[in-house]
């Protein structure tokens, strides 16, 4: 019966930069985290716009002016790319979870596929909507 021992767990070290030169695998990984977390900004703007539409015409005019301004365009276009990047990176994780695509060469190719694919899908979405 082992006693429960409290241990001071170390933080995961941030490797890119001081210890590791930037590589496709590490950069495409950290971008997944950055895009996923940054999406909260576009989500809050979109939900605020939805709330305003449900509240009153006057409030909608305010939120809609912000959402369709240069600032709104910047946030939503950035979020659109972030969604597609995170989407493709997520598919890569699902592939990796099956044990496939782990070879360095393949992983690097997948990294390029995510970056190029996210730009292409962003452009296609912008054309369609």
């Amino acid at each position: 019966m082992a006693e429960t021992k409290r241990v001071e767990r170390p933080l995961s070290p941030f490797m890119i930069g001081p210890y590791y030169r930037p590589q496709m695998t590490s950069i495409s990984s950290i971008l997944t985290r950055i895009t996923g977390n940054a999406l909260i900004i576009g989500t809050i703007l979109a939900v605020w716009w939805l709330l305003a539409a449900a509240t009153s015409p006057a409030y909608f005019n305010v939120a809609n002016a912000v959402a369709t301004s240069w600032f709104g365009d910047l946030v939503f276009t950035g979020s659109l790319w972030a969604i597609w990047y995170h989407y493709l990176a997520g598919l890569r994780h699902l592939l990796w979870d099956t044990g496939r695509g782990m070879e360095i060469e393949t992983a690097e190719k997948l990294g390029w596929a995510i970056i190029i694919g996210s730009v292409v899908l962003t452009a296609i979405t912008l054309i369609l909507v």
Binding site: L11, N37, I44, L50, A53, A54, G90, L91, L94
Partner: protein, 133 residues
């Protein structure tokens, strides 16, 4: 004292104390979002920039309303748990706890606001449709 061996107590739990539950939730929600998000992007992108009447008309239809609700509910849980993973990587102690609680709170608040707005838009759309007759 519980009559469990140390191995039995540790098995499948790992550093998170909940085993692979977190990872499995991210897997399940990511697959759900992969199916939901493209159509949502199309509907939202088409509606953004339209006059208020069009916005109400779109989001009071069942498909866009239910799809948006699913994207927000699943998306915000996926976000909260993903952001929690980042916070657990880079912060410790009380700061970590505080930031995880804040992240969860923001996610639940955004979800509640979105669902409130969707319900209200559906009701407004229903009233418009019935006043027209």
């Amino acid at each position: 004292m519980r009559y469990l061996t140390a191995r039995k107590r540790a098995e499948g739990k790992g550093a998170s104390h909940t085993g692979t539950e977190h990872h499995w939730y991210m897997t399940v929600s990511s697959v759900a979002l992969a199916f939901l998000v493209p159509t949502f992007l199309y509907i939202f992108g088409r509606t953004l920039g339209q006059p208020l009447e069009e916005v109400i008309a779109t989001f009071s239809r069942p498909f866009p309303a239910i799809l948006t609700a699913l994207v927000v509910v699943i998306g915000m849980r996926h976000f909260a748990k993903g952001a929690q993973m980042m916070l657990e990587d880079y912060t410790q102690g009380s700061l970590r706890k505080g930031l995880v609680i804040l992240t969860y709170s923001i996610s639940y608040a955004v979800t509640a606001v979105a669902l409130y707005a969707l319900v209200k838009l559906a009701l407004i759309g229903f009233l418009f449709a019935n006043m027209a007759h």
